[in-house]
Symmetry: C2
Subunit: 311 residues, 2 copies
């Protein structure tokens, strides 16, 4: 039997379908939900009042960068002085830092898949408990580029693993479950269009390789251990390039997979700190690196402003 | 032909053999080594002068906990006031925090295998460049226990994966390399003996399961996603218990594997914040959790004092 579709969704249906969803029947049975790594909980905090108006969530590795981003957005949206302090909602813990500026939530996630995965589980539950609708989430990060001049911004089309496959392997009860790591192509194109309008730095759309290790896992020659030659390294990176990989980082695969399951519109926007075909060490000056790191922030700030002006 | 052994090692040989070793021929060719995530480098810092006397390295997830540990050691070794501030050697970055108190280095590593692996690559190179000898490294952390009363301390005999195998899979140039995750059994027994002498909390030696995820990866029912029943969860945790697993955390496997390769004497000492056979949420009060978290610190402080008094 074919499923029945109504011709037009009512506004209420639309809002319901655009809710952030969890995929866990056990949550309904819990009286209280403690988000341990955020140091907040539904028994002690009024989630809908605190977070119900959130429309954009921006996440990145470093807590100080995510604080700076919140301050930048404060200025851009004319909500406050970009030099004034913003309060850390997760002040009771140092696992993550979280800032809220109008409809924008800015959260740090540390480094690597496990660290961002803990944060995303608790964030998705936070958005769910808060009854948020139509949320867009963007990872703004740093990465190594392949064949791009340092300082280029890469918008991820799909996140691939170390064998260049667009998938994330999650181990559940000791068994491997494979999840899809594609990202919203329309959103990626929209970010690309914003970058053209800003017209200040090189931007490309490409595949992003997500690894579990920064040194051996990314074919670097400068870790504590290295069992391969420079030639083997270059072969691997060139094979990655031929598979459409333009940058390498450590969080995008689980980010894409978890956002897909929870129905969050998601993008990954990272700036390359070096060209891995030319070296492994990040040796640019602090000033140059600080300038590079502002590029994803600028791009995402521009995108958010555009959307809020449209709304 | 049988290898030739000299009857007795000279003091110089002994010192050489107890150096921390890197396993990377490329390092010798580098003029300068920038430890990017520590924000220090051999071109700008005198490593042997700064770190040459380090004998104990203590690592843990949270930067504030590792600062508190450095201050505690300051008092215990009568090197300074435990209430006075200690300087963060990695103040130029917020990726990790590092403190030095006499021969003790205290470093944070964030959460998860990738995060601790970046730190360990740079730490092993730091100890190598500093020509450190006879270094013992201890991870002091928090974890979930299996079948133990909350607040128990687990000293890891071996770290096992989600299928209870004592191994760590590292992906290099897209291929899987399997590494050994056993820890020094003599050192584990020594910690157990110290705990008996302190006689303040329950301590066991057992296997530690190391996972890539806190929720689905540890069979929790309270993540954003959960596709299994409570019964299946309990079956899995009981199978882990039967395989000798007494606690679950997220860093020990790569820690054991990397310390094995570099010849570092290593131990993992974690306190259980809850008994996973009785629940998933960490709901104890801040005061109780803070008390639990001091137990590994106390144990390691006792161990270090004992060793320094012997020397």
């Amino acid at each position: 039997m074919a499923p029945v579709h109504t011709a037009k969704k009512t506004e209420n249906d639309q809002a319901t379908s655009n809710l952030v969803h969890v995929d866990n029947p056990h949550l309904e049975k819990m009286k209280e939900d403690i988000l341990y790594h955020f140091d907040i909980g539904t028994g002690t905090h009024d989630f809908p009042a605190m977070f119900g108006d959130v429309k954009f969530v921006c996440v990145g590795g470093s807590p100080s960068r995510m604080k700076a981003f919140a301050q930048y957005i404060n200025g851009e949206l004319a909500l406050g002085d970009p030099n004034s302090d913003v309060a850390n909602i997760c002040a009771g813990t140092d696992r993550y830092a979280m800032y809220k500026v109008g409809p924008v939530l800015s959260i740090s996630h540390g480094m690597g898949i496990p660290s961002i995965s803990i944060m995303l589980h608790e964030l998705i539950k936070l958005l769910y408990h808060s009854k948020c609708t139509n949320v867009t989430i963007i990872r703004i990060g740093t990465c190594g580029g392949i064949g791009l001049e340092p300082g280029s911004v890469v918008i991820t089309s799909q996140s691939v693993d170390a064998s260049f496959r667009p998938q994330f392997e999650q181990i559940i009860l000791g068994k491997t479950v494979v999840r899809n790591t594609e990202l919203d192509s329309e959103l990626a194109r929209e970010f690309f269009q914003c970058s053209k309008e800003i017209n200040e730095f090189n931007t490309v759309i490409g595949n992003t390789m997500c690894t579990l290790d920064f040194y051996e896992g990314q074919a670097r020659l400068d870790g504590a251990f290295c069992s391969y030659t420079e030639e083997e390294k270059m072969q691997y990176l060139k094979a990655a390039y031929d598979a459409g990989v333009r940058n390498i980082e450590m969080e995008s695969s689980v980010f894409a997979a978890m956002c897909n399951i929870s129905g969050l519109k998601a993008a990954v926007v990272c700036v390359t700190l070096l060209n891995r075909l030319e070296g492994d060490q990040i040796s640019s000056s602090h000033e140059v690196l600080a300038d590079y790191q502002q590029r994803p922030q600028k791009l995402v700030g521009f995108f958010i402003k555009k959307h809020l002006n449209k709304a």
